[in-house]
């Protein structure tokens, strides 16, 4: 019997190595695997390259991961936030490296890694600072930049529902980076609010087939956190 469900956050994060590239899903707090991020802090892997849209805010989650000195480099589109103090301090002090990538290019580079495409061309950033050092090329009279796939060792994702095959259903805008990140890592770890019986998830509602997922841990935030469902 296939069973990707693990019983603890520690089990979910077991074996993440120093020096790993880690994709972290979510956009804002929606679809962000917050409990897995806490687990990664606990687990203690260092010298990480983390890839996610935002560089964290306040002193929790990704900001805490950076604050603990576990992060060597961050690849993101938007390091600003309401309270980006940790990232900005480390960045100013030269203690963290930043690779700034336009959001759509970031998404497509991650998808490309999952889809077996080593490189593609996009008009995004052509002629700007963010195309510096990259090959560019004309197609049909227009300039495009060559972008490389962004492969990772680990992906941390959040889903609304999961089953023992690792199938994931997202809620609301909670998909965002999660489906492509799940495709692009050697080891994909999901936190899910609900675990369903195999066959309970609608085949067309599954946003990430379990084929992409290695481990699932249930994270029940409790009913009071939740507003009426509209997914």
């Amino acid at each position: 019997m296939i069973n990707k469900i693990v019983q603890s956050v520690a089990d979910a994060l077991a074996g993440v190595k120093d020096g790993s590239t880690v994709l972290i899903g979510g956009f804002g707090s929606v679809g962000q695997p917050d409990v897995l991020i806490e687990g990664l802090i606990e687990q203690g892997a260092k010298d990480l390259t983390i890839v996610l849209n935002n560089a964290g805010s306040g002193r929790i989650g990704v900001a805490k991961l950076m604050d603990q000195g576990q992060v060597r480099k961050i690849v993101c589109s938007f390091p600003r936030s309401k309270d980006p103090v940790v990232f900005e301090t480390l960045y100013r002090e030269g203690k963290i490296e930043l690779e700034l990538v336009p959001q759509g290019t970031l998404a497509e580079r991650i998808r490309a890694a999952g889809a077996g495409i080593p490189a593609f061309y996009t008009a995004t950033a052509a002629g700007t600072l963010l195309a510096r050092g990259k090959e560019s090329r004309e197609f049909d009279g227009k300039t495009y930049v060559m972008e490389r796939a962004l492969k990772a060792d680990v992906a941390l994702v959040e889903a609304w529902e999961a089953d023992r095959w690792g199938n994931l259903v997202y809620r609301g805008s909670g998909g965002n980076f999660n489906p492509i990140m799940a495709m692009a890592a050697e080891l994909t770890i999901a936190q899910a609010q609900h675990i369903r019986e195999l066959g309970e998830l609608h085949p067309h509602m599954i946003g990430t087939p379990g084929v992409y997922v290695n481990r699932v841990v249930q994270v029940d935030r409790g009913g009071d956190w939740l507003k009426p469902e509209q997914n």
């Binding site: 956009f27 804002g28 707090s29 929606v30 679809g31 560089a55 589109s77 938007f78 390091p79 600003r80 980006p84 990232f87 900005e88 960045y91 100013r92 930043l98 700034l100 990538v101 336009p102 959001q103 759509g104 290019t105 998404a107 497509e108 991650i110 998808r111 996009t122 008009a123 995004t124 950033a125 052509a126 002629g127 700007t128 600072l129 963010l130 609304w160 997202y170 809620r171 609301g172 805008s173 909670g174 998909g175 965002n176 980076f177 999660n178 489906p179 492509i180 946003g207 956190w225 939740l226 507003k227 009426p228 509209q230 997914n231």
Partner: protein, 212 residues
Amino acid sequence: MPFNRDQMAARLADDVPEGWCVNLGIGMPTMVANHVPPTREVIFQSENGVIGMGPAPKEGQEDPWLINAGKQLITLAKGASFVGHADSFAMIRGGHIDLCVLGGFEVAENGDLANWATSENDTAPAVGGAMDLAAGAKRLWVIMEHTTKDGRPKIVERCGYPLTGLACVNRVYTNLAVLDVVEGKGFVVRDLAPGVTLEEVQAKTGATLHTQ
């Protein structure tokens, strides 16, 4: 009298026809949605994969799993759908967004836009989806104050700040005027705020203004 921010957003909203798929940037662009009457169906797309946003949620009816690109809680319009980030930016990059509205630091008469960094050595500059939208949307309209707080022109011959996109802006809505960017010509005045004169606008503009 120059437009205030709400009037700027309303002026822009007037020009958005029914049926367009529109992406609104963070900040003033987001205000445009409030000025499109509900009888005129416009599809608001958000980079994080929401196609068809409705108005802001009433208190007590917020869904914490439903936000826009500015991280604000939203509702869905009837007819809304969700996609992931790769598909959302496929829609943007592929030219399926009829209109994108962004804020700007500078717009040049060749249509160049600078709106993400104020120098090459910006501390931790943030680009988000601006470059993707600038490169991919069918039309890009910029909404911004006509000058900086200390009075320097933001509408210029050539951008001094790092570019977001080249030759991508089609129109600029400011507190003083509405300007088209016409290829091979430059800025063409399309409309002036009530009581504002062409001379006044030209004096606050770093590029030549044409009148059709």
